[in-house]
């Protein structure tokens, strides 16, 4: 359940804005950071602290792609397949990752380490192809580079 610390941080966020509702996106981000994903129970708790209905909060959470409404692996691997990355072989990057991780896009490895997703433009077109693992960007990707990155992540 949402920690008391998170709840008090949400209260602080509410006070930071001219209107408390503005704190909803940061509050959801905070809750996700704590739990890895936004379960119905967590959404309800956020709703309660925010003074909104669960439907309102659930609706907002479902609008934004960065809010996970299902559990994800420790590493969320998000490969851009939009135009610039695609021109430079993003599909091959995805295929390589699928093979290496043994999962399809949208799936999580059985060890719970990796979830693989295709995402829209990450704003890194000059260093395409690119992927984001959790908060970190990996640019100018090649198959070899991916192998190194995965090995490094597994070691952590």
């Amino acid at each position: 359940m949402l920690s008391d610390k998170a709840k008090s941080e949400i209260q602080q966020l509410k006070a930071r804005y001219p209107h408390p509702n503005s704190a909803l996106l940061p509050a959801l981000a905070l809750a996700q950071k704590e739990h890895g994903w936004l379960s119905p129970e967590v959404l309800e708790e956020v709703a309660e602290v925010m003074g909104l209905s669960p439907a309102q909060v659930g609706s907002v959470a479902s609008f934004y792609t960065m809010f996970n409404r299902r559990p994800v692996g420790k590493y969320l691997v998000q490969v851009c397949t939009n135009v610039a990355c695609s021109l430079l072989g993003a599909e091959h990057i995805v295929e390589h990752l699928k093979r290496k991780l043994g999962i399809n896009v949208g799936e999580t490895t059985p060890d719970g380490l990796f979830t693989l997703l295709e995402v829209e433009c990450l704003g890194s077109c000059g260093t395409a192809p690119v992927m984001q693992v959790n908060d970190t960007y990996y640019e100018n990707l090649t198959a070899e580079k991916i192998d190194q990155i995965l090995a490094e992540l597994r070691r952590r």
């Binding site: 503005s22 960065m66 135009v83 610039a84 021109l87 433009c121 704003g123 000059g126």
Partner: protein, 421 residues
């Protein structure tokens, strides 16, 4: 090549730190603005500079500011850092390498617009950039550039870095406001326009990162300096992002009206592997693509409009020979249907339908009547959707059918993608 202005701090070690920024002349423009200018004079200065919105629409910034209704407070300023138009990555460079440059621009702009609370709405994926901005904001508070009575001027400003969470539509200014209000990023009805009723239904200025970033330079160097570059209607400097099939993709700072060829060949190192250029998306994924016959077009608002496309965000995507245009357009159509917020019928249903047809053609199920059908669907979306996203989705479809009709017909005739083995 000329000494960089907007990118002057990029590549400088620790350029994101306030000490470095200040050593390199940072926050001098703010001092000057607060000391030498009344707010109205600043609005006038920016108006005279001809600075136009760098987010894509190209609306003159000073004119936008002057739309704020007199005497209505509080007012808000929202910096649009929700850079999401595929092909665009210039704001990210500024945010990560020169956050104080942006903050200084915001402070001066807020002073000009008599705003005491400002927001930077940064796309959620830019976690690193958001952290840099947060740090920079803390530093600026510590040095008295933000907060109460800034530099003894009596002017107060709070600046909040607000992260998005993954929605392209929040780059649309009213979608951004709804999102900032804690809701789904659905665009709002216009009128009322944000200048009169925006965030929390209060007068609100919304400017792109690059737009605000220009402001301190204009304050320091004057409007005449700015208008000495570019053309009369498209004055000043622009950041161009170039990506795709070129040797040196990246962000380049050039005066407006620099020819496209110069950008591609002199800066971006020419086509990748020397492959001939097949098509160019000149200003971000929504701008209609052009063919190499227009390589000499000057990169400014008017010249690109004259050939049926747009300067947009200045994001040039070069597409080399050997690339399937249908596949490329299908991918863009997929993007727009994914990002359609779903509020209005034509965008929600039309973008889905377009994608499904393109997907069918690319996978061998095309029919000749699909081309007129797609153009008809475009007509039923164009100008009818609630916000510009619907129109944005049409650029690639219409322009590709206009320039690459034969390639579509080949897909249809051969019942396969000719570029797939």
């Amino acid at each position: 090549m000329a000494e960089p202005v907007l990118l002057r701090n990029v590549g400088v070690p620790d350029s994101h730190k306030i000490e470095v920024y200040m050593q390199r002349g940072g926050y001098q423009a703010l001092r000057k603005a607060l000391k030498e200018f009344q707010p109205a004079a600043l609005v006038d200065l920016v108006k005279r500079s001809g600075l136009r919105g760098r987010g894509g629409a190209g609306f003159p910034a000073g004119v936008k500011w002057s739309f704020l209704p007199k005497g209505v407070y509080p007012r808000y300023l929202v910096c649009n850092a929700d850079e999401g138009e595929p092909g665009t990555f210039k704001d990210r460079v500024l945010i990560e390498h020169d956050p104080h440059g942006l903050i200084e621009g915001i402070i001066i702009s807020c002073y000009a617009c008599e705003v005491n609370t400002a927001f930077i709405y940064i796309r959620g994926e830019y976690e690193f950039g958001a952290r840099r901005l947060e740090q920079a904001v803390q530093e600026a508070y510590a040095r008295g550039f933000l907060g109460k009575n800034i530099l003894g001027s009596g002017f107060n400003l709070d600046l909040i870095v607000h992260r998005g969470a993954g929605a392209y539509i929040c780059g649309e200014e009213t979608g951004m406001l709804t999102s900032l209000e804690g809701d789904r990023g659905h665009p709002k009805l216009k009128p009322p326009f944000p200048a009169s009723e925006g965030l929390y239904r209060k007068p609100t200025v919304i400017n792109n990162v690059e737009t605000l970033f220009n402001v301190p330079f204009i304050v320091e160097r004057g409007a005449e300096w700015y208008t000495s570059m570019g053309t009369e209607k498209s004055p000043g400097l622009k950041l161009f992002c170039i990506s795709g099939h070129v040797n040196k993709p990246g962000v380049y700072e050039l005066p407006l009206a620099t020819p496209l060829r110069t950008l591609i060949y002199d800066y971006a190192g020419g086509p990748l592997e020397g492959k001939p250029i097949k098509a160019i998306i000149p200003g971000g994924s929504s701008t209609p693509m052009i063919t190499p016959e227009h390589l000499d077009v000057p990169l400014d608002y008017e010249s690109l409009a004259a050939i049926g496309t747009m300067l947009g965000s200045g994001a040039v995507v070069v597409i080399g020979e050997g690339t399937c245009i249908v596949r490329t357009v299908e991918r863009l159509a997929e993007f727009y249907r994914h990002e359609s917020c779903g509020k209005c019928i034509p965008c929600r249903e039309g973008t889905d339908w377009l994608y499904k047809i393109l997907h069918r053609i690319e996978h061998g199920g095309g029919r000749e009547e699909d081309l007129p059908l797609m153009l008809d669907i475009c007509n039923n979306i164009g100008g009818k959707s609630f916000c510009p996203l619907g129109d944005a989705a049409l650029g690639p479809v219409r322009s590709s059918i206009a320039h690459f009709r034969e390639e579509y017909l080949q897909h249809i005739r051969e019942k396969r993608c000719p570029f797939q083995d």
